[in-house]
């Protein structure tokens, strides 16, 4: 194991999959000559050439659709959105073409495509550039959605996504690109199955269910809670769809209390779905109502103080945990 950044882990995943399968190509804005807006594709043009690492004009709908068409005839495109906020321009291709083709064609055309890029609110980018898109995409049957929070998860989930025969969105955490973590050496194949949550910290009093940018937040809060004699277990969903119910249920059956903390907005969000499934399946295990911590239900303001107010934060999470623990 060695310590690398989240960005470097993604870069390794891309390079390894491009190397492994000649049908894989990477396409998007600034991915080649500029090395990626966030430098995730650094060095790939030099290594794989312009046929496999392809710059596009600013035409998200166009190149996302190009990827879907290429996937229909057997290529395995990796389509990078400079941010998932821009994928909204390509919503029709991602939601109406990629996942529907298999059903509409009676099983003749599966679409092995990966859509990826930074997702979720970053820092003072204003309303148009701060979208967390997981609940939008998880709502469409036929799509798979994963949200890695660590370098190792980022590498393993991206590699698995590229090999999946269905459309997969890898929603990278914009604020975590420079974060570091331990990952196996490059010659060891890291593959993390979609649909497996990961217990990032064991605990006995409360389950904090989180993903992507809220994982480091939950870890920090768990350390604070420890000082107050509250033992929090941290369940990192890693995949939103498929959703690992078993790991969630096991954790909540042990702690009997749950707080869901998500980077997304609250209405019809991931937390709502998780909450529904817990109460439906293990209602008797609960000692307190489930709490959710998410964004406030407003477009993201630019002002730093207001943005902080809108986002989930340590104070809100602490308060929610104490409420379910009646502490």
């Amino acid at each position: 194991m060695r310590e690398i950044t989240y960005r470097q882990a993604l870069n390794e995943a891309l390079a390894e999959e491009l190397e492994r399968d000649p049908n894989v190509f990477l396409m998007g804005e600034e991915v080649a000559e500029y090395h990626g807006a966030y430098k995730v594709s650094q060095g790939l043009l030099e290594r794989f050439g312009p046929k496999r690492v392809v710059d596009t004009p600013i035409s998200e709908n166009g190149f996302a659709g190009l990827g879907v068409g290429a996937a229909m005839v057997g290529l395995r495109p990796i389509i990078e959105f400079m941010t998932l906020s821009f994928s909204l321009v390509a919503f029709d291709q991602v939601v109406n073409n990629a996942p529907n083709m298999f059903m509409m064609s009676g099983g003749q055309f599966n679409i092995p495509i990966t859509f990826r890029g930074p997702n979720g609110p970053a820092h003072q980018l204003g309303a148009t550039h701060s979208h967390a898109t997981e609940s939008l995409y998880a709502n469409a049957p036929g799509l798979k959605v994963c949200t890695p929070a660590t370098p190792r998860d980022a590498k393993g989930l991206l590699k698995t996504a590229v090999r999946d025969d269905n459309p997969v969105l890898v929603l990278e955490a914009e604020l975590l690109y420079s974060s570091k973590g331990m990952v196996e050496p490059p010659d060891a194949e890291v593959l993390i199955p979609l649909g497996q949550a990961d217990v990032k910290r064991e605990g006995s009093d409360v389950s904090i269910i989180c993903y992507a940018q809220t994982v480091p937040l939950a870890i920090a809060v768990a350390a604070q809670l420890e000082e107050e004699d509250i033992s929090a277990e941290i369940v990192d969903l890693r995949s939103i769809k498929p959703l690992d119910e078993a790991t969630i249920f096991n954790s909540v059956s042990k702690t009997h209390r749950a707080v869901i903390v998500e980077q997304d907005r609250p209405f019809c969000g991931v937390g709502a779905e998780v909450c529904y499934r817990i109460q439906k399946n293990i209602f008797d295990q609960l000692d307190a109502p489930i709490m959710r911590v998410s964004q406030e239900d407003v477009p993201m303001p630019y002002n730093e103080r207001l943005e902080k107010f809108v986002l989930p934060n340590a104070d809100k999470l602490m308060a929610a945990v104490k409420k379910v623990c009646y502490a």
Binding site: L66, A70, L75, S105, F109
Partner: protein
């Protein structure tokens, strides 16, 4: 040499007749409520797709919009499978899961059947991108209507196709109306082909009521693309005799206009050409037409007597290689277990 051409043209006339008679039957069955959803008929436009099919190889990629019955039939999808698809039956070309607007036939290189206007033009770019990526000499033929040319996806795709020099023939089937809105009311251009100029793509205008003109122009274009991959744009001027869909009485146009085009019917025209040249007798034509009618009727009978997919099969077409969630049994596995007599495990949702 001449014999082959002669045979081909008679075959192509038979194909146009098949499409016409198939659609007349589909119209009748729709009115009898055997066919659900929307149903857009191609009657009047047959020479466009048949002319195109006559000009390309069987392994070239074909993709179109929602007025797609003719494209599948021309490509070789069986009339039975097409009619069964309209009836929503398991024997349909998409097992009854796509319907009228979503005909796919992978074996015959028919890539849909796409019902969001303009959204398939980027897909055509991707198919052609793949051909170029693999260094194949395949050509992608992308059909769309005059309504698509004002959609953003169309413009983004044309720029990408031109920028990457992709082997695509963009065929605008200009039937003068996007649903009920005439081209004059929807498009700022004097002629649609000028869209191509904006992307530095060579463009042509072809009379879509004349099979030979369509075939000959597309042959010339496809030959040129095979030598050196590049895009081309063809505005094919045609006319649909029926409304936009079955529910449209087409009151936005005059009877005189419709009659004018009916007199220029592509089937009558090719028949006259062949008869004049001594390649087709009236008896031969009548036999072709009789056969087309019989085939269409047989397709209805086939569709009527075909089974539907069992409801639990829907879960098998959300993802390839399910199950979707770990630990959750696939519905097909549950069915298997039930057949084996074991009690079905309780699925969580």
């Amino acid at each position: 040499m001449q014999r082959a051409e002669q045979r081909d043209e008679v075959e192509m006339l038979a194909l146009m007749l098949l499409i016409r008679r198939f659609e007349e039957r589909a119209s009748q069955q729709y009115q009898a409520q055997k066919i659900g959803g929307f149903c857009h008929l191609y009657i009047g436009q047959e020479a466009v797709v048949v002319g195109a099919v006559a000009a390309v190889r069987d392994d070239d990629y074909i993709i179109t919009a929602y007025r797609d019955h003719g494209h599948a039939l021309a490509r070789g999808t069986s009339p039975n499978a097409c009619m069964a698809e309209l009836f929503g039956k398991a024997t349909g070309c998409c097992q009854g899961l796509g319907g009228s607007m979503h005909f796919f036939d992978k074996k015959n290189h028919m890539y849909g059947g796409h019902a969001i206007v303009g959204a398939h033009v980027p897909l055509a770019a991707g198919m052609a991108f793949a051909s170029k990526y693999r260094e194949e000499d395949r050509v992608t033929i992308c059909f769309f209507g005059d309504g698509a040319i004002n959609q953003g996806s169309f413009h983004e795709a044309l720029n990408l196709i031109a920028l990457y020099k992709l082997p695509v023939v963009l065929i605008c089937e200009n039937n003068l109306f996007a649903m009920g809105t005439s081209v004059k009311r929807s498009t700022s251009l004097k002629q649609i082909v000028d869209r191509a100029e904006g992307y530095d793509i060579p463009g042509d205008i072809v009379d879509g009521m004349n099979f030979r003109e369509v075939r000959d122009k597309l042959s010339e274009i496809v030959t040129s693309i095979r030598k050196d991959p590049h895009p081309a744009f063809v505005e094919i001027r045609t006319y649909r005799y029926r409304g936009h869909s079955m529910s449209d009485p087409a009151s936005y146009r005059t009877k005189d206009e419709l009659e004018k085009y009916r007199l220029d019917d592509p089937i009558i025209r090719l028949r006259a050409q062949l008869t004049r040249e001594g390649k087709l007798t009236n008896e031969q034509f009548d036999a072709l037409d009789k056969k087309a009618k019989e085939t269409a009727l047989a397709a209805v009978k086939f569709a009527e007597s075909s089974p539907e997919l069992p409801v639990e099969k829907v879960y098998d077409y959300a993802y390839l290689n399910g199950p979707m969630e770990p630990g959750r049994p696939r519905p097909a596995d549950l069915e298997q277990k039930r057949r084996e007599g074991a009690p079905a495990p309780k699925a969580q949702s």
